[in-house]
């Protein structure tokens, strides 16, 4: 068991962002700007308090927060800085209740750092949890959906001062409507939604993921400056598996309806493994041998540089890279039939039945 984070200081942000990038499973966006934004807030307002889900009272109000829209807009239109706080305040006003804590919805990639600035600015603690344990491309793809917890009411804000409150009939509608509103708000918005009680947080959210990201980042940093193998260090923290190591020999990437889709092939000693992605890595299969699956979503597929352990995102994939593919078991909440339907490779159109990565790896070891 890893030590839970108690607070996030300025100097912790880089480490946390490194771990979040690994948990982005190839997507999730670059946490660099989010890291700077949180660092600046911490420099001004002080460190962020981190609380564990079990420390919450059952009727505490917790507000999850994230950014929605195109990352390329995020890298150009730097925020005003109060978008997140205004989204939070508008939601509180509508609910007639003050938030006791905030939480991330997505630990993988850039959204991991978004609630941290708001936490620092408001003095609210952030709960050590998220709703994915990884990265996913759509708003409804979070564990609270599996527990019947609505995304509504949710608020989107922009830099100009607009705040839009949405009440939708279900979480899929929230995804569609919020994304359309976001375009009108300049293509990227801060969002507060999925308001939950402490009781709901304990049941529906994945605990310990901020700590996991931090320890993952720290393990990698320590291995890179010391003698340990960086990949072993990652595996130790994630309790993951080495799926395959080799050289990228083909990359196929295209944009479909705003999503980056495609695959890349990793080859070693006559064996080739193909990883398909839609923003995030979805399924890793051996070419030949009937296309045996090595790992599939909702389990995490991570691609890291074989020498340094640095994460290789879908944008960075290129012929010649020496990569190691890692598989990490997802949170058990994703492993129910409903969880697999919502976040499994099947949701993205793959027909293979989901088998947990540890079972697949056991088979591989037994059969070479």
């Amino acid at each position: 068991m890893i030590d839970p984070l108690k607070q996030i200081r300025f100097e912790d942000m880089k480490t946390l962002a490194t771990g979040a990038a690994i948990l982005g499973t190839g997507g999730g966006g670059d946490p660099y700007r989010g890291r700077l934004i949180a660092e600046l807030a911490i420099a001004e307002h002080g460190p962020i308090r981190v609380v564990q889900p079990r420390e919450l009272a059952d009727d505490d109000l917790v507000v999850p927060m994230w950014n929605i829209g195109a990352p390329v807009i995020g890298i150009e239109r730097i925020e005003k800085g109060d978008e997140g706080v205004r989204a939070l305040r508008a939601l509180e006003e509508f609910l007639g209740q003050k938030a006791v804590a905030l939480s991330p919805v997505e630990i993988g990639g850039s959204n991991s750092t978004m609630p941290l600035r708001v936490a620092s600015m408001t003095g609210l603690p952030v709960v050590d949890c998220d709703g994915m344990g990884r990265a996913y491309p759509e708003v409804q793809m979070i564990t609270p959906t599996l527990f019947g917890i609505p995304a509504s009411p949710a608020v989107l804000t922009d830099t100009a001062g607009n705040a839009i409150l949405l009440q939708t009939v279900d979480n899929l509608q929230m995804e569609r409507i919020a994304r359309a509103v976001c375009v009108q708000l300049g293509g990227r918005s801060a969002m507060a939604g999925y308001p939950m009680s402490g009781r709901q947080i304990k049941r529906a959210m994945i605990p310990g993921t901020l700590s996991l990201a931090f320890h993952l980042g720290r393990a990698l940093e320590e291995a890179q400056t010391g003698q340990d193998d960086p990949i072993d260090a990652i595996l130790k923290v994630t309790r993951g598996f080495r799926l395959f190591s080799g050289k990228i020999v083909d990359v196929n990437r295209r944009l479909e309806k705003g999503w980056a889709r495609g695959y890349f092939d990793v080859e070693n000693q006559g064996k080739t493994v193909r990883v398909d992605f839609q923003n995030e890595f979805l399924i890793a299969r051996e070419l030949g041998r009937g296309g045996r699956v090595l790992c599939a979503a909702p389990d995490l597929i991570m691609s890291v540089d074989s020498h340094t352990g640095e994460p290789i995102t879908t944008e960075m994939l290129r012929y010649g890279y020496r990569v190691t593919l890692l598989g990490m078991p997802c949170d058990p909440r994703w492993r129910t039939p409903e969880g697999i339907a919502l976040g499994g490779a099947g949701y993205f159109g793959y027909e293979e039945a989901y088998v947990p990565v540890e079972t697949l790896v056991k088979w591989l070891i037994a059969n070479g």
Binding site: R77, I78, G187, D250, G258
Partner: protein
Amino acid sequence: MMRIGIDVGGTNTDAVLLDGGRVVAKCKTPTTADVSTGITRALETLLKQQRPVDIRAIMIGTTHFVNAVIEQRDLAEVAAVRLCLPAGEAVPPRTDWPSGVRQLTGPHTFFAHGGREFDGRPLSPLDPQELRQIGQEIARRGLRQIAVTGIFSTLQAEDERRAGRALSEVVPGAQISLSHQIGRTGLLERENATLLNASLRPLAEQTISAFERALEQLNLKSALYLTQNDGTIMRAAFAREFPVLTFASGPTNSMRGAAYLSGLKDGIVVDIGGTTTDVGALINGFPREASVAVRVGGVRTNFRMPDVLSIGLGGGSLVTAGGAKIGPLSVGHRLTQEALSFGGPVLTASDIAIARGFANFAPQRPQLDPETVTRASEAIKKMVEEAIDRMKIARGAVPVILVGGGSVLVDDQIQGAAAVYRPAHFEAANAVGAAIAQISGEVDRVYELTSLDRTAALADAKRQAIERAVAAGAQPETVEIVDVFDVPLAYLPSQATRVHVKAVGDA
């Protein structure tokens, strides 16, 4: 018609004289601290070999400005003006800079109204009164260098231009650097590059004036150009305003020179020097660009830099562990004092090449253990082969072009190479790359494909790129489009598409 190409590296200044496409004279002299003395010496040597009749242009590639940033010297204080309100304040200018460079360029930051949304709508209108007040404050602080960066100025540059004009009216002797002329989408990185540019302008003014005086003294009246990151050139007057655009000209020039000398447009270039080997991929005669953010002296930028893999292998690399380990330590320019073949105490990669008969530039062939020689030769070749393999863009063997003084270290039996080319004048490929450089114009912006379709957007971008090339001095009849790509913006169900176009023409 003749052209002179000069490449000023950290150790040597190389110069070549090209007649049409032919190298008719070349020389190598040590680089001097002030750069221009070394250039004068190189030109004198070159002109002694061949008195040219009609020199159309002189092209200089220099690492002088990038070194000023890395060594944190000769940087001026700069006022950063960001057109962004009501957005844009969350991460102020110079965030995440090394403290040395941050302090040298000063704490001068101003947020103003202006800038655009991704679809071209104004974020807020420009406020002339506000800009006037900012200008007065800049003048009061005695600053002359101003860097103006507007949100989505790569899409709509008008705000930056108007703000620049408004500030020049108030600030005496103001020199304005506008971000849309320097970087691409990615506000912080583009702003960083613009700030570095502004802080280097006094040094650029001084250095380029010295270049011009040097040419004058030698009675050379040809047009002077400086080479840029992307392998193209800019006029001296333009380079005074855009010194940052010279940052990566070193590796770019050698790759372009290698392409030219070998006649190949696609392949892998291996430039083996004294301490390091640079390996890069050529696509259509130009270096492939890096896809990730590049830090210059610790400052994050998003220049179009060539994607170069540097490994610790060169003619001066130390050979240890009985030949199993090569480098990364090197005797560098002390080769002729320290290498075994020159009577020195150290076994270097050059000694291995000499022992195998690949090279004969030393007074003696050293007596070496044959096993060590074999092992070291294999280790050297393996390093080169691995680097080539990492830089390839697709499966299969590729043409490999070997350049640089250290290219004698390897033979032609390179795994993964479809053929190995060692073009004539390989040791001066960098200067040749400078001499053949063309003038470019570039467009990188977002189009909203509602009022116009993709074809019209591409046509518009091409027209602008050609206009920019001609404005930069290209002869209009020689301009052609060399690079086009368009990608829809991810995570958005809108019709926004980012278009990049580049045009080049002869000087």
